[in-house]
Symmetry: C3
């Protein structure tokens, strides 16, 4: 099968760029142990790196790979005692973090090409900064404002009175609907929908009446929103995603949710209406969080966790049972439905034996 | 952090409109206890309401907030005995329902602007009613028909021979694919896909053969479909969503499913092929329903429920276990895998003790 | 309610086509027991079939329906002993598989209409084969290549340097992003996103730093991708979906995942980063698979299974507990949280009784 896989060309970009280790050290503030003139043009894992590559060691489990790597330079924590290796060392107190920065320096994002593509349609009263790039087929509706350095990908819709700060990237076919506010450097991936109507209906005698969703969505600086993720507008107040949050693909954020700064949320997770999530939480994939809850700052929820009550003590919370062979699972799942009865039987046994003890 | 949140302007709309209480009472059929000339222009919760706002009390838990509200008028059930309050009262047997109606009266949807946007592409043999609005970048394919009062948002695709009744709203970048039929007043949110091929493949010796999906999707009057939700066409018969159903974001409806009238389905839920859901069901978020089942009318499924068999008695059904601290969860999850063995041990104990009793 | 359902017209297609049984037998290699001149123009289930229809029997449970069917022809396994029925027989060792082929022969896909729609925007240096169809509103970016027989639906975005082989079908508003490679006959449904950035961030002292996602997505021949499904590009290496895989709607495939040939994955499932799934697996809906795992070829995961460890023995694996009436579920879910304690109590009883035995 592998032989059938067509070769993968590098993703197009202005680079990859070639830089010297001295330039990298200077740009990132890392200390370099010499070899400032050596040029590098890519990043790679220790085992895959060859001459011209920068690698890193963040997990001591991989330390023995240092002996095998052919990288030109390796980013290491200063506490690592490494001698006699042929590679150059960039010292960092956070090697993976600085590796990410080096990777970006060597693979810069394509430069924004200011201007409005011929097939884009921009309302007469929309304000598009001269330093923004508006792609083919984009629609910018009445009253919208787009800041400098923004890159609006092909097919994107920017709704009426939506406002984007500086340097936002909105990818293909995403929709930033009416009145949504984005801060600076917000990244919205393809197909995401920001500002859909919240799910609010009032039960009548014969039908459900839609409750007008009058709020907006506020997304602060440096937030990333994954592909095909949906963020509903508030019913009266706003839905808010605070600065630095990172949301993966296919996440649902219901109306009036607030997500605290720097919280990360993996794919397929759903957050129900009016729930408030603290800052710096780590939320795994396919988690479900009920509505009107509060999740303490710093909480971790593992994948597929089901959260039906507020969490006041930060910590790691989990639910679900890992998959087991179907035959075993069938038996145990049936037994789950009999748990209450089993407890009663054990209580009866304890009573009988306890009675026996007394005799 | 809050201080960094940019202020949220109201979502653009033709209003909010200003109406007198007399006008509201007349439009909704509610009784008013005087003050017909007082003007209001917005809705708000009891605590957030100020002069000019209409609020409501639907849950007696909030009754004491009546003493604090500064609303100009409050919608109350006639059974509430309220005297000496400064606000006006609109009497309703269903305060939240009438609050929703008042909110819509004060915040009407933007009026449809009949006509076809210059960048829209409409096939020569498509029939677009003169009273429909076709947004920028819309594509209407051959044989499609769009009724009066429809509003087709930017970037939407209407497939060949699709038919939309009157007053439908299709939001940005949604896709209504070939042969799909929508009734009147259907609301499809951004990015939703109606009429994708059902997931049907026949296993061959060396590959899966796609089973042609020849049916359509029928969506009846007053249905709402959430953002990025997907509804597959039937394999031979049709997939049907009956009148008044409300589906949230990121819901999956597989081929040949039928959803009964006025059923509501929260986000991230998936319904497998050929399942028939009765009318007036309430289905929570992230529920999974297996294929070829029947769910009785009026059934409630709580969030993350796993439904593997038909439900014939309406009622509330649940599954899943709420998240607990990871350390506890680890132990209990292991014990789940030993449940069958535990039951055997209890049976043995019972046998031993029972034997002992006899002696 | 049914009386309100508007009648469903057939989905537009060049057909349905009329063929003789002789032509069908010849095209599929099935044996026919006479009646080669009889014409058919559609497929149907045994009970719904009438004159002119081809049906099939794949499950012996439905054998008695043979007596009732009015089909002109039925596809049967040669081992079926059927005599005296009025219908013609097409013999197949895999009746459902050949039924799918017959359905396609009678309902061919619309022929590709080579050419570029007037409103499509194709970069000057993109290579679009003359035998490809580029729909209205499509954007093809710089350096992209589209092979012969491809059909690119309205509103689709083909990113820079993406490459599509022959006979791919990309449906409305899907996005094939920069550098993605598709083989031949790949089918991507509406709204799907291929090549979004993987979810990779390095934790810094004050924020998360995006780790550049430098890999691509490789999708091999004959893969189907469902509506609004997302497939992330690799962080350094590529994300790979091998030939013949079928993915349903709203599936999430994270960066650097590899999915083996002919694996099928139902809707709402999420696969975390760097996980390798073997060939010919069957993965149910709403399954969650953690990152960095290996799933053996031929494994079956039932719907909503939670996979947190590698699976080395192929087989059927499951988790979750089917929904039960809410009152029972509440009690049992509480007991789940006490399982560890319950086991201790049973151990204590066993100890007590064991001690008793010894006395």
């Amino acid at each position: 099968m592998n032989s059938k896989t067509p070769p993968s060309d590098p993703v197009p970009s202005p680079g990859p760029r070639q830089l010297t280790l001295g330039e990298l050290a200077s740009a990132t503030g890392m200390d370099l142990d010499g070899g400032a003139e050596a040029a590098v043009d890519r990043v790679a894992s220790l085992l895959e790196a060859g001459p011209g590559a920068v690698s890193f060691l963040a997990n001591t489990r991989y330390r023995r790979q240092l002996a095998q790597t052919r990288a030109t330079a390796v980013i290491l924590h200063p506490s690592e005692s490494v001698e006699g290796y042929p590679f150059r060392i960039l010292y960092s107190r956070n090697p993976y973090f600085d590796f990410a920065r080096v990777a970006r320096l060597l693979n810069p994002l394509p430069a924004v090409q200011p201007g409005i593509a011929p097939s884009a349609v921009v309302a007469a009263d929309a304000r598009v900064d001269a330093a923004a790039e508006i792609g083919e087929g984009v629609v910018v509706q009445s009253g919208a404002a787009i800041g400098p350095g923004c890159r609006i990908g092909p097919g994107v819709v920017i709704g009426s009175d939506a406002r984007l700060g500086a340097d936002c990237r909105i990818e293909a076919n995403a929709a930033i609907l009416a009145g949504v506010r984005l801060g600076d450097r917000v990244h919205v991936q393809a197909g995401a929908v920001i500002g859909s109507d919240g799910f609010g209906f009032a039960r009548g005698e014969h039908h459900w009446e839609a409750v007008p969703q009058l709020g907006a969505v506020i997304i602060e600086d440096d937030v990333c929103i994954g592909a095909n993720t949906t963020v509903d507008r508030g019913s009266q107040g706003d839905t808010v995603i605070e600065q630095g949050c990172k949301l993966d693909n296919l996440v649902q954020v219901a109306h009036n949710v607030r997500i605290g700064a720097h919280t990360v949320i993996a794919a397929n997770t759903g957050i129900s209406g009016s729930t408030v999530i603290g800052s710096c939480c780590t939320i795994g994939g396919a988690v479900g969080i009920a509505g009107h809850l509060e999740i303490a700052a710093g909480t971790t929820l593992t994948g597929m966790a089901m959260v039906t009550g507020s969490i006041t003590d930060p910590g790691i919370y989990s639910s679900g049972v890992p998959a087991s062979p179907n035959r075993e699972w069938r038996r145990n799942a049936v037994r789950f439905g009999q748990l209450e009865g089993l407890v009663r039987r054990v209580e009866q046994l304890e009573k009988t034996l306890g009675a026996g003890d007394k005799e």
